[in-house]
Subunit: 541 residues, 2 copies
């Protein structure tokens, strides 16, 4: 490498990436190395406290710290990663202000990208219709959604729709699912004080878990304690079940039970990050990157991996779990090993014994285990939970601000404000199950639908005369264009005949395309004429 300054590139700005950069700055001199960190967002999220944002115990910005404050000496690239070229030792980044990649050469590469926040691979409507809970945006979207359904229910006259608006389904009762269930429950209780026309008894909250006891990361006795506590709050626990499918109308459980709901939250296990998945040459095991005990990726001598995306062997034969506690320790070992490698000194294998686990259960309650032996629960556990995470928050100013927020939260009622930054209709995917209605005759027309998979029936309703299937449509067909082009309400009902995946194109976008692609217009006009003829034929009978 001659006398040239080496470049260390860290991908990912979570606990793993940020702490690696911090340690490297201490161990290596600025003259020898440039340390770059690439992250999509310009902040690090303090994930353990994210659930507190739902109910306003913490402010929107209180669980995040700007990377520029945390890492003043690091060269920051706030960009999406397009491609990792391990052979060419180059990272390709996307810049929103230009149509060329930013290309970053590296001498040492550290993969600390966490696991996937996208769950596009999940089948059965989960990707399309379930809310997720992984980062700060997810948290705000969930909070906004809860407020929106409650406010809509307050003025809704249709009792079925009202109940669906007041029903909440949480899939998975690991740490995240349990914490979210508790926080959502507390937040709804708080909200209802301002919406007198909705009673607590009208609310249904289901926590669906595949095992008998929730929180299987902890001992059964603590899981049982948590179950009791959640039941007291009004949560119904469905054990031994999974959320199998989600549609715009229902959550469908593994026992085929259909729960009418407009709010399904999935805390499904995470996959490998999509960028890593498409990177050539990475050794993968259990959706994670295989490293040696020194944290070097297997088969590479200048590529490292840590955190949730890494499959790191521990001395006892097990593998490092995907928690913040481990990521922070891994970061330290990685930085030391990288410095040792550069100084041609021996590296040390990673080892760490976790201190304990704590899960918050909403308003002033928590459960946990310390040093694998001591069990704690209730208010004491909650106080400890807050104290520990508070002490780990980065920066004194952050600590002060959070403390103030907590104190204010004791006195000042929360404001259920929904911040809609972008409410534009966009193209999106939909999933329906057999016999579910996509739209009804007479409904307002806002989308054109293309069938990707499955089959639908177009049903004409006659006044007092029942209804008749006038057409069945399969994949690669479209429907809904008549009402859009004629600017009228739906002329027929459309129902799914089997599991069906659709793409919905907003009216405005569709009309622009139609008006400007002449051939598309001709095609649509011909199809439409023949369809209208068919419709009229039925009317005559």
């Amino acid at each position: 490498m001659s006398g040239k300054r080496r470049r260390i590139v860290i991908l990912g700005g979570g606990f793993g990436g940020v702490y690696t950069a911090k340690h490297l700055h201490k161990l290596l001199s600025k003259e020898d190395v440039e340390i770059c960190l690439v992250n999509r967002d310009n902040y690090m999220t303090f994930q353990p406290m994210l659930a507190e944002v739902i109910g306003d115990a913490l402010g929107v910005y209180d669980t995040v710290s700007a990377l520029s404050s945390l890492l003043p000496k690091t060269t920051l690239y706030i960009n999406e990663i397009e491609k990792i070229d391990l052979k060419g030792k180059k990272i390709y980044l996307v810049c929103p202000f230009k149509k060329q990649h930013i290309v970053l050469d590296y001498d040492e590469l550290i993969l600390a990208l966490g696991n996937a926040t996208d769950f596009i691979q999940l089948q059965n409507g989960v990707a399309q219709h379930a809310l997720r809970f992984k980062n700060l945006s997810d948290t705000l979207i969930l909070r906004n959604h809860v407020i929106n359904v409650l406010e809509a229910a307050a003025t809704e006259n249709n009792p079925q729709l009202r109940q669906a608006l007041l029903t909440f389904v949480i899939g998975g009762a690991g740490f995240t699912g349990t914490e979210v269930a508790a926080e959502v429950c507390d937040f709804i209780t708080k909200m209802l004080k301002k919406i007198p026309c909705i009673k607590k008894e009208d609310i249904r909250i289901y926590l669906v878990h595949s095992k008998d006891i929730i929180l299987n990361e902890l001992s059964p006795s603590l899981g049982k304690y948590a179950m009791q506590l959640l039941r007291k709050k009004g949560v119904t626990i469905k054990s031994g079940l999974k959320v199998e499918a989600v549609t715009p109308h229902h959550a469908i459980l593994s026992n085929h039970e259909k729960i009418s709901s407009k709010t399904v939250i999935s805390t499904a296990p995470a996959n490998l990050n999509l960028v890593l998945e498409s990177t050539q040459g990475l050794p993968i095991a259990h959706d994670r990157i295989k490293t040696d005990p020194n944290l070097l990726v297997e088969g590479f001598d200048h590529v490292w991996a840590i955190g949730d995306a890494a499959h790191i062997p521990l001395p006892d034969g097990s593998f490092a779990p995907p928690t913040a506690q481990f990521a922070v320790r891994e970061a330290k070992t990685l930085a030391q090993n990288l410095a040792a490698k550069m100084a041609l000194k021996p590296m040390k294998p990673f080892q760490f014994k976790p201190l304990g686990l704590l899960a918050a259960l909403g308003h002033r309650k928590a459960v946990g285990e310390l040093f694998g032996r001591i069990k704690i629960s209730g208010f004491t556990a909650w106080l400890m939970w807050r104290a520990i995470y508070w002490s780990k928050m980065p920066g004194l100013s952050r600590k002060l601000k959070v403390l103030f927020t907590w104190i204010l939260d004791l006195f000042i009622p929360s404001e259920p404000v929904v911040l809609n930054i972008n409410s534009r209709k966009t193209m999106h995917h939909l999933h329906f199950k057999a016999s579910e209605m996509i739209f009804d005759q007479g409904d307002l027309a806002d989308y054109l639908y293309i069938i990707l998979k499955g089959r639908v029936a177009v049903v004409k309703k006659f006044e007092g005369n029942g209804e008749k299937i006038i057409k069945e449509l399969e994949a690669s067909n479209f429907f809904g264009e008549i009402a859009l082009t004629k600017d009228i309400t739906r002329t027929a009902k459309v129902v799914a005949l089997e599991s069906t995946d659709l793409i919905a194109i907003p009216k405005d976008e569709f009309l622009v395309m139609k008006d400007n692609f002449l051939e598309l217009d001709t095609f649509l006009t011909t199809t439409q004429e023949s369809r209208l003829e068919e419709l009229n034929k039925f009317k005559k009978h």
Copy 2:
């Protein structure tokens, strides 16, 4: 109306709407009337302090109050208004959870919708490319954008693009424009402390104003004081000019000067709300609804109007200005007149003398006039500005929280965190001027473009061999499909030949359409083949 409970419907949850509801609850009994308020957002924005959110002096939620907290007795509809039917006395609302309108009958209607936040009617790229500053979302979008351009500039190697990223243009120097210029300037100064590679001298901030002196709502001496102060901060004031057009690359002024910039903020005068514009039968003057002195809309005896959307005659022959001060007083008069009308008592005409005007100029400076005579400026004016608006904030808990935030702001550095809730690419409109490049040969391909208006040239560049126009395209044509369908970089450069309006369709959406509309695919394939042939012909020469 027999013994039936009357329904009063208020459209709009700004100062006018909220204060009308408050006064009506005091004056009328719950047995006699139901008071409904319709608003798109579930909060009221305290607009006078919005600019403080840019630079973090106030938190995201500190300038808004939930309507449910402000108006516990009012029936709230948090919905978009689709249509106002004055003849049928019905309001049609859109509900995101169902495909039917919510229909609201009214006995008395109060129009308090403010002016338009959409500036879709503005020509010359302003709607497409300028940022606006009207509500809380605009504020957050602006704040995020400023952080984004600074962070992108920090790692940008191209000096032209770097300068464009560091150049900010604000159109209009009334109250809003001036306050925004000052706040943006202060915020950038704060940000640069964390980005050592960008110097203050690299930043260009232009405030473009059509008059000689800014802030023409106040006396010239105060305007001059404000100009001096802004110049000291580093703002260049371009007087006697307007921002004529905005493109993705430039702000173009009325003297044809082109300023290379990625941040143009327009504080253009507001239009009539789109829903009001499409309502049949409303008397309109100067983009506002004409009312009589009692605040009844001319020609109606059960429709009222107040606030920024109303053209209200004052006793001295002038008309009420669109300020919060006036809206609050109008609300009181309206409520009294409505109650008087229902009790068959005489109504009173609206009259009010404003107390004064104050404009903040960023960090601890302001200017203003009190009682039309006393001029104040500097720190005293700023203290008064804060004190007055703070005292007017709704609710004690809000007041306390804002006070805490201000105190914390003195000690705790701000965190320039960019919260990207929705970063998905969507279909959007673009405006280009003659000779501007839309994309370059070799660029990454992310959109298909349809020409709505204007003309473009497709230019092929040859290695060392100059370039050649291979095709001109006009409205209703499209371009950019080759690189999208073949998943390669752009095969040619495209340049606007005149003022051109485009629609950009994201790659993903386009490919889904293409793969599922068979006829569209055939059409594209045919066009593409002939286009590729033409390209190859040129290569051979």
